[in-house]
Structures are given as C-alpha cells and as structure tokens.
C-alpha cells in the first residue's frame, strides 16, 4: 500500500493536466445544465438595477481586456440585454485601453438586427449599424447607448469625472464627434448625474478605485462585475454598503444570467467549472492522504510536537 501512495506522490504532473483538460472539455460537449442558486451579492446587484426607473442613465466602465473575456464578457452581454429590455440608457467608457473595444463587442454580440438596412424617420436616416435589437426591444446609438472610449489616467479619470464629465470624455469613440451632440448626454455634466455605475473589472484600475472615488467621494451607487481573482478584494465593500452588489467570476455571471433571463455562456460553462473544482478537491485530498501515509512515524511525531 505504501508503494501505491509513494507512486501517487511522484506522478507525472502532465497526467493531472490531462485529467483537468478532460474535466473541462467533456462537459462542453455534453452541455449538461446544473442548478444555479442565486447568492445574496448577485441578488443585491440585480435588485439595485430593478429599482432604477425607466430612462435611467447607467455608466458602464469596461475595465478589462481580452485576457478576462471568458469571465467578464458574458456579464457584459447579460447586462446590456437587460438594459435594452428595461429601457435603461447606458454610456460605455473604459479605464483600460481595450475595455471599450470589449464593450463594443458585447453590444455587437447581443444585437439580433441586420446591420445592412436603413430606416428613414422624417429627414433623418438611421443605419442598421446604429441599432441594437434584443427580442422586441430596440436601442439606438447616441440615444439609448453610446461608447465614449478609453481615457488615460487610472483613478484620476474618475476623480475628474466628478467635476466635469465632458472634459474627461469630450468625444464619442465611434464617430469622434463631441459627446454633447448626442441626445443621451443631455443632463450629464458630472459623475453624480448618473443613476448607477456598472463596473466590469479585472484589476487595477477597477472596482476598488470606483468605490474609493465614485462611491465615497461623489456618492454614486456602484455595482461590480469582477473576475474571480478580483472578487475577494471587493467583498469587504459589500457588507459596508459601499458596493451595490458583486458578480464574482463566472459563477456570478451565471447567476446574473439566470436573474435577467438570458442564460448563455456563463451558465453553459458552469458544468465544466464544477467538474474541474471536484477534481482539484480530489487531488488535494488524495495528495494529503498520500503525503501523510508515506511520512515516517518520527516525522509525524515532529509535526504533532
């Protein structure tokens, strides 16, 4: 028996990689659904959004890059669908250079419309590319949503938004036109004019900075969608009421998808995630048993003492 445990301790690490690969891959093909109970922090965020009246303006700060796409992109897509369906207007910005690009991708991915057609309303021509369709609901670029791009300066960008939003984000990303030309920007002069901030964060600058500046300095409610690595840093702000909810990692994304009624990638990936966690836990348990089983009696005494 001792030899068995000793062999386990010296097992080639590549065997573990193969097991994890299979644990993650097989469920992708099988597409088995697992029950997803909603945790308090996700419910708090959803309730905060539910409490917003129609036409509320939400600032969406995409503070992540493609490296965090598997975790944060499903959250962005679920949130944008929810905004379109509930007549909430959203303004996309980014404290990371690639953030607004990710925001654009999320908008394109939720859009069910044909970008080729043109709509004529009086003298105004609306292009299909400016329109986002989700089910029976529509949102127009510049009226219901806009992308103002990236601004350099990390947390100081938030600080500056507190006094002048126009000076911080003078033009939109898509056309390079002054932001004041777009109807969605009416009544937005500073950060406090937003009804809610939805922050998708993968690190610095991100949720911590939004809490420190937007919440504590300018008293704007902030809800956070974080990568799992970032989530433990944000949790202390939840109980204090500084954060209006957290979506932590892919699990948080799956819960949010369930609440908004658009179960998509995060939900689909939960089976793979669960399988991988089960195997990691098994490895830890078996590894510890093997470690103690192969330990000499004198060493065990040493540990006890």
């Amino acid at each position: 028996m001792d030899k068995f445990w000793e062999r386990l301790l010296t097992i080639d690490r590549r065997v573990i990689f193969v097991v994890i690969f299979l644990a993650l891959s097989v469920p992708i093909f099988l597409q088995i659904g697992l029950p997803i109970p909603v945790t308090r922090e996700v419910q708090v965020l959803y309730d905060s959004l539910e409490d917003l009246p129609r036409d509320s303006k939400i600032l969406v700060s995409c503070d992540f890059d493609p490296g965090s796409e598997p975790e944060l992109q499903p959250m962005a897509e679920a949130a944008f669908k929810y905004f379109v369906e509930n007549d909430l207007r959203f303004i996309v910005i980014g404290l990371w250079p690639q953030g607004p690009i990710q925001g654009n991708r999320a908008i394109e991915d939720i859009d069910e419309s044909d970008d080729e057609y043109i709509v004529k309303d009086g003298d105004t021509l609306y292009f299909g590319a400016d329109l986002v369709v989700v089910g029976n609901d529509t949102a127009w670029y510049g009226i219901d949503f806009i992308n103002l791009g990236f601004q350099v300066g990390q947390e100081l960008v938030i600080q500056r938004m507190g006094t002048s939003f126009e000076a911080t984000f003078p033009s939109d990303r898509r056309f390079g036109r002054p932001q004041k030309e777009f109807p969605i920007m009416d009544g937005i002069y500073r950060l406090a004019d937003f009804d809610f901030v939805f922050n998708l964060s993968a690190g610095y600058p991100g949720t911590v900075e939004w809490v420190q500046f937007a919440v504590d300095r300018f008293h704007v409610p902030v809800g956070a969608a974080n990568t799992a690595v970032q989530a433990p840093l944000a949790y202390p702000y939840l109980d204090t009421g500084q954060l209006s909810g957290i979506l932590g990692g892919m699990k948080g994304g799956a819960e949010f998808e369930k609440l908004v009624g658009h179960q998509a990638r995060a939900t689909m990936f939960m089976t793979s995630q669960t399988m991988a966690h089960i195997f990691v836990m098994l490895f830890i348990i078996v590894g510890n048993i093997a470690f103690f089983a192969t330990m000499k009696k004198s060493d065990r005494r040493g540990i006890r003492e």
Partner: protein, 251 residues
C-alpha cells in the same frame, strides 16, 4: 471549421502557448515572444495617441496650430490673454520634459523634481482616499451588535409565512443572523491581536493570536480558491474557442 485566417491564427497561438504544459519548446518560445512584442507595441501606440497626443499636443494647442484638432489649447489661451485651468497643461508638459532628463546622466537630477511632485500628490490623494474608504467605512461597519436581533425577528416572521407555503428560509440566512456578526467581530479582533507585536504572544493573548492566524489562513484559502476558479474559467474560455469557434464541434 472556421475559414477565417484570424481564428486560425488565434488557435495556433493558443495551442502554442498551451504546449508549454508538455514541456518547454521552440513553438512556445515563439508564441511567447510574439505576445510580448505585440503587447509592447500595442501599449506604445495606445499611450502615444491617448496620452502624448491628447494630453500634451492637444492640451498645449500644438495640434491646433498644425490644423489637426479644432479646439485651441493652452498656448493659444496664453497668447490671447485668456487665463483658465487649461494653462496647467504647460506646467504638466514642463514636468514631463524634466522627467526625460533621466536619459542624460549629467543632468539626471532634474528628474527628481517631477518625481517628487508625483510622489507627493499621489501620497496625499491616497492617504485621504484609503482613510475614508478602507479604514473609516470598514471600521464603522465592524461596530455592530453580536447577534442581529432585528434580522432574527424578521426571519421568524418571514419563516412563519413561508412554512405555510411549504417553503423554508435557506440556512445561511439564519447563520448570518446568529453567527455572522460574532465571527466578524471575533475574527477582526483576533486578526488585530496577531498583528500586535509589542507584547509577546503567550497565554490567552498568544492563543487569540493563533486564532487570528486561522482566520488569515481561511482568508488566504478563499482567495486562492477564487484564483483557481478564475484560471479554470480562462481555460474553459480557450477550450470553448477551440472546440466551437475554430473547429465548430459545439454550437
């Protein structure tokens, strides 16, 4: 299977980087080098356009003078006698140029001046911010009753209604009401005791410090668990890309 060149390229680099799991190899080294090079190039371009052009050239009015930007800058304001906050761009530009003096060893000391401005202003900004957000707010929410009596009463009332409907309140709600605050208060105190080094960790003080270590270990464990979860998510994302977007095996 995808017919897009970009998708094939992404798949090639994904497999190239993942090949390191088998062992270090030339393909991995190639993919890594390309990634590092592209990242550096991307950041250089992004910072040039977003920082140097918009903040310095546009802010100063150089872009306006060259007919590249419609709005006037600080230099135009100064020469036309208009005094506003825009003029601070000149100060920022001077400090920025002073910072570049590090490149010349003989006058490298000049770079200390802008550096001192950065250190001073950052320290001042963060001191207030952290004191307000991470100290006062957290401290305020730690001063709480041992048991959340209000919440317990509320749960009893809700529980009675739900029992009639054949449902029950999840156990973690009761746990939070009965033990949550207790754990929070005791955990905070034990953690603080562990970090108090002016008294030897012996007797009841030492035992409390030891409990503090356990709380810290649980915190680190939870944090590590989240990290594992995050890394698995990224791997799932790449596998899904390979199986779905590239190979088309999964819809």
């Amino acid at each position: 299977m995808s017919s897009e060149f970009g998708i094939w390229l992404a798949a090639f680099f994904t497999i190239g980087i993942a090949s390191f799991l088998y062992k270090d190899n030339p393909l991995y080294k190639f993919c890594e080098s390309v990634f590092v090079g592209i990242s550096a190039g991307y950041w250089a371009v992004a910072l040039f356009w977003e920082n140097l052009i918009t903040k310095m050239f546009d802010g100063l009015g150089i872009s306006y003078s060259l007919g590249l930007w419609p709005e006037k800058g600080a230099l135009q304001d100064i020469f036309s006698g208009v005094w506003n906050w825009n003029i601070l761009h000149v100060l920022a530009a001077i400090l920025g140029i002073m910072m570049l003096m590090r490149l010349f060893p003989k006058i490298g000391w000049i770079a200390r001046w802008p550096l001192s401005v950065i250190v001073g202003s950052t320290a001042g900004l963060w001191m207030i911010t952290y004191f307000q957000s991470n100290f006062l707010s957290q401290l305020q929410k730690t001063v709480i009753p041992l048991f959340d009596i209000g919440r317990i009463n509320e749960l009893s009332e809700i529980g009675a209604v739900m029992a009639e409907q054949g449902r029950s309140i999840p156990l973690d709600n009761y746990f939070a009401a009965y033990l949550g605050n207790l754990v929070l208060i005791f955990g905070t105190l034990a953690g603080l005791v562990y970090f108090y080094f002016s008294k030897e960790h012996k007797g009841i003080f030492g035992r409390t410090a030891k409990v503090g270590i356990y709380f810290l270990m649980i915190t680190f464990g939870a944090s590590f668990g989240y990290t594992v979860m995050s890394r698995m998510s990224l791997l799932i994302g790449r596998l899904y890309f390979l199986f779905s977007t590239w190979l088309g095996f999964v819809n």
